[in-house]
C-alpha cells in the first residue's frame, strides 16, 4: 500500500462520484414531471435489447480465440444455454445448467 488513508478515501470518492454522475444524469435531465423529448423515449424503449447484446459481447471480450482452448468452453456453453432455453424456457434452469457445464469444461475438459 502506497497511499495514505486520506488519499485512499479521496480516490474511492472520486471513483464513486464518476459512477454516481453516470447513473444520475438521465434522471436529472429528465425529471418525473417533465416529459422527455421523443428521441429520449425512443432510446429508452429500444436500448434494453441492444444493451443486452453489448453485455454478452462485453463478457466475452477477453476470451482467447487464437490460442488454446480457442473460446470453445464459452461457445459450447452458450450454444447449450440457447438450446436449453428455447426448449424449456426456464431462466434459472438455463443459467444454472449453463454455468455448471462451463465449470465442468474449464475444470475438467479444457485443462491448460
Amino acid at each position: 500500500m502506497q497511499l495514505t488513508p486520506v488519499q485512499i478515501i479521496l480516490t474511492i470518492l472520486a471513483v464513486a462520484l464518476g459512477a454516481i454522475a453516470t447513473r444520475l444524469t438521465p434522471f436529472v435531465l429528465f425529471p418525473d414531471g417533465k416529459r422527455p423529448p421523443e428521441v429520449v423515449t425512443y432510446l429508452g424503449n429500444v436500448l434494453p435489447p441492444v444493451m443486452m447484446g453489448l453485455l454478452v459481447v462485453y463478457c466475452l471480450k477477453s476470451v482467447p480465440i487464437l490460442s488454446y482452448p480457442h473460446g470453445l468452453p464459452e461457445l459450447i456453453s452458450i450454444a447449450f444455454i440457447v438450446v436449453l432455453h428455447l426448449w424449456r424456457k426456464n431462466v434459472l434452469l438455463s443459467i444454472g445448467c449453463g454455468t455448471a457445464l462451463y465449470m465442468f469444461l474449464v475444470q475438467a475438459v479444457f485443462v491448460s
Partner: protein, 233 residues
C-alpha cells in the same frame, strides 16, 4: 416502517429473490475475487468493502486497483470512472419510465443501478399483487448486498476458499445470454439485439478488449438514431 409496508416489502423480497440468484452466484465469485486482489495489493477488507459499498461499480473497481497501487491521482480516477461507467447513461434512459414516481426510493434505485440490475428490471415484470416499487427495490438491494458481501468474504478469507470456483463467474455471462434471448423474443426486437451484438463486436475488433465500451456506445447511438424511422415501427 409500519407493518403494512413491512409486509409489502417482504412479499416483494420473496418474489424478487429467485430472479437475483444468478447475480448471487456471479457477484459472490467476482466480489471474492475483488476482495482477494485488493488484499494482495495490501488493501484489507476495510478498504475493499468501503470501495464496494460506496462506489459499487464492478469493472471500474478492478480498474481502480491500478490507481490505488500507483500514485495519488483523484482527477484521473474520476475521469476513468466516468468513461468506464458511461454505459449507465443508457440504462438510466431505459429506466426513466419504470422508476417514475417512486419518491425517496428512487435515490437508492439510481445509486445502485448496475448492469445486472438493469438486465433483470428491464426483462422482468413484477408478479401480480406485488408492488413494483418494492419489487425493483428488492432486486437492487439484493444485488448490492451480494456484491458487498462477496467483497467482504474475499477480503477476509483470502486464498482459503473451500472449493474450486473456477468458472462460476460465468453465471453472469449466462444471465446476460438468457436475458438477451428473453429480450429478442419480443416482437421486432431481434434486430435491436443484433445491432447491439454487431456494434459491440465491431468495437471489440477495432479498439481491442480494454477500450471497447465507449466506442461501442457511440456506434450504437449512431445506429439507433440513423435507423430511428425503421426501428420505431
Amino acid at each position: 416502517m409500519d407493518i403494512a409496508r413491512k409486509k409489502k416489502f417482504s412479499q416483494a423480497l420473496t418474489a424478487a429473490f429467485p430472479h437475483t440468484l444468478p447475480v448471487l452466484a456471479g457477484f459472490l465469485v467476482l466480489g471474492i475475487a475483488y476482495g482477494m486482489l485488493m488484499l494482495e495489493k495490501g488493501y484489507g477488507p476495510q478498504w475493499s468493502v468501503l470501495m464496494s459499498a460506496v462506489a459499487f461499480c464492478g469493472s471500474m473497481q478492478f480498474v481502480a486497483i491500478t490507481l490505488l497501487t500507483t500514485a495519488f491521482h483523484p482527477l484521473e480516477a474520476l475521469i476513468l470512472s466516468l468513461l468506464v461507467n458511461a454505459r449507465h447513461l443508457f440504462y438510466g434512459l431505459s429506466m426513466l419510465e419504470k422508476y417514475k414516481g417512486f419518491g425517496k426510493a428512487k435515490a437508492f434505485l439510481i445509486y445502485t443501478l448496475c448492469d445486472e440490475t438493469f438486465s433483470i428490471v428491464s426483462s422482468v415484470t413484477p408478479p401480480e399483487g406485488v408492488e413494483a416499487k418494492y419489487f425493483y427495490l428488492s432486486i437492487s438491494l439484493l444485488d448490492y448486498l451480494y456484491w458487498v458481501f462477496g467483497t467482504l468474504l474475499g477480503g477476509l478469507l483470502g486464498e482459503l476458499m473451500p472449493f474450486d470456483m473456477k468458472g462460476l463467474d460465468f453465471a453472469l455471462t449466462a444471465l446476460f445470454v438468457v436475458l438477451f434471448l428473453e429480450q429478442i423474443k419480443k416482437k421486432g426486437n431481434w434486430i435491436l439485439g443484433l445491432i447491439g451484438v454487431a456494434c459491440a463486436m465491431l468495437s471489440r475488433v477495432i479498439f481491442g478488449a480494454e477500450n471497447m465500451v465507449l466506442p461501442a456506445l457511440a456506434i450504437i447511438l449512431i445506429a439507433l438514431l440513423a435507423g430511428r424511422k425503421k426501428l420505431c415501427s
